[in-house]
């Protein structure tokens, strides 16, 4: 049986190279692959494009990567939670692409599903529609949004079997299940790894064909904050 478990974090992140687009799951720190992000901060890479709802918080999660100047561009919906983002953007050290949260989610879904773009009513008539193609469909105006794909996705799930089938936990699912579908190489960190057959096929939210590598989470979000397991 296929076994995608990686024994080390560095092995799991080995394929990441300069200039890659990396999709990173999570809504703030909730459902973020904290262990993989930590490992990425130790890796010598630059000019990354990060697709994530937020860029962590100041000095936390993706915020560390930002402060290391490894990020060239960020695509997300809410960067206000990390004050360093505005500062770097203002200084011309960081490119930003801001998308409505639903458009971000749907663009990643489209990227993973082989869809070449989609029309949405969201943002029509606002500053976020500037420069985008508009089209009237059945009497309503829509804006064209392009799909988003990554070279790599770093995601967080609750449980994996050795094949890479995934089960999520509560609101930690958020963008993770979408990002699993939209990158060439997908690494997941989980709380628990079980043998094939150990997950109920009815509860599997991400099928194994999307997943390339599995690691055990070492950084856990608790009531008291992020702690090492």
């Amino acid at each position: 049986m296929v076994d995608k478990i990686k024994s080390s974090m560095s092995e799991a992140l080995e394929p990441i190279k300069d200039g890659d687009t990396i999709l990173v799951g999570g809504f703030g720190l909730i459902g973020a692959p904290l262990t993989l992000i930590e490992e990425l901060t130790k890796k010598d890479v630059k000019n990354l494009t990060i697709v994530s709802n937020n860029l962590g918080e100041s000095g936390k999660g993706l915020g560390i990567l930002l402060n290391q100047n490894k990020i060239k561009k960020a695509i997300g919906s809410y960067f206000t939670s990390n004050r360093d983002v505005g500062e770097k953007y203002q200084n011309g050290e960081l490119e930003l692409q801001l998308l409505p949260q639903g458009t971000l989610a749907e663009a990643i879904r489209a990227g993973g599903a082989g869809i070449g773009g989609f029309y949405t009513k969201t943002a029509v008539g606002t500053d976020l529609a500037i420069g985008k193609e508009q089209r009237e469909i059945d009497g309503e105006v829509y804006v064209l949004e392009k799909p988003i794909k990554g070279n790599v996705a770093l995601i967080r799930a609750h449980k994996a079997d050795r094949l890479g089938n995934l089960v999520y936990y509560k609101t930690a699912r958020n963008f993770n299940a979408l990002m699993a579908t939209a990158a060439d190489y997908v690494v997941v960190e989980v709380d628990e790894i079980v043998d094939g057959g150990g997950l109920d096929p009815e509860e599997i939210a991400t099928s194994h064909l999307f997943v390339d590598a599995i690691v055990k989470a070492e950084m856990i979000l608790t009531k008291e904050g992020v702690v090492a397991r």
Binding site: Y89, G102, A105, K121, G125, T126, Y169, K170, T171
Partner: protein
């Protein structure tokens, strides 16, 4: 317990909005005053949706806090009987697809036609929008909660928004500490004075043209 005037105003607004939510509604609450609305709703047939992936939001006690169970403001919440979790694309399909009955949002400005601005301030970096634009195009009914005036005393009900608008869609109802307005055929109607407020106060603090329909 209400400990200061600002807090008291917020709770008064939240209580008024709560009374406008019909039974069997699916409701999405924005950050700030909208979050307080849930405290004043005890109808078990009203279900709360949060865009980060939960239908069936409830309050949670300190001892039951789960760091991976939060609302859109990243505040810990509980899950109701019959709750479900879903990914962000499915969550916004619910919103954009017209399956959410009521969205309750904060605003920086509301104009005389009911168009709102609530995501960006001119002169500051425009770096956050979240789900506001999706909720405005998708929710069947949109209720705005806000203080009537800004910190500098200027009216938040303006003739035309000077801040970047969130959508061309007009909201349905606006509740402040002074008044309740409804938007009918693109015009603001003053339909109710809040407890303790006078018509004179509303006139003085409202820049936008409105119709008195008390």
């Amino acid at each position: 317990m209400i400990t200061n005037a600002k807090n008291g105003i917020q709770h008064m607004i939240a209580r008024r909005v709560a009374s406008a939510i019909p039974s069997l509604s699916i409701v999405n609450l924005g950050i700030g005053i909208p979050t307080l609305v849930a405290q004043y709703i005890d109808d078990p047939k009203i279900y709360f949706h949060t865009e980060n992936g939960l239908l069936g939001v409830t309050d949670v006690g300190e001892e039951d806090i789960d760091p991976n169970l939060v609302n859109a403001g990243k505040i810990p919440v509980g899950q109701a009987i019959g709750a479900s979790f879903f990914n962000s694309a499915d969550s916004f399909a619910m919103i954009r697809g017209g399956h959410v009955d009521v969205a309750i949002l904060g605003a920086l400005q509301v104009d005389a036609t009911g168009v709102i601005a609530n995501w960006a301030v001119p002169g500051k970096n425009i770096i956050g929008v979240g789900g506001a634009m999706d909720l405005l195009v998708g929710a069947k009914k949109v209720i705005v909660t806000m203080t009537h005036t800004a910190k500098d005393g200027s009216s938040k009900l303006v003739e035309k928004c000077t801040y970047p608008i969130t959508s061309t869609r007009q909201v349905d109802m606006i509740v402040t500490e002074l008044a309740v307005f409804e938007v009918i055929e693109g015009k603001l109607h003053l339909v109710e004075l809040m407890p303790g407020a006078t018509l004179e106060e509303v006139r003085k603090n409202t820049e936008a043209h409105f119709i008195e329909s008390l």
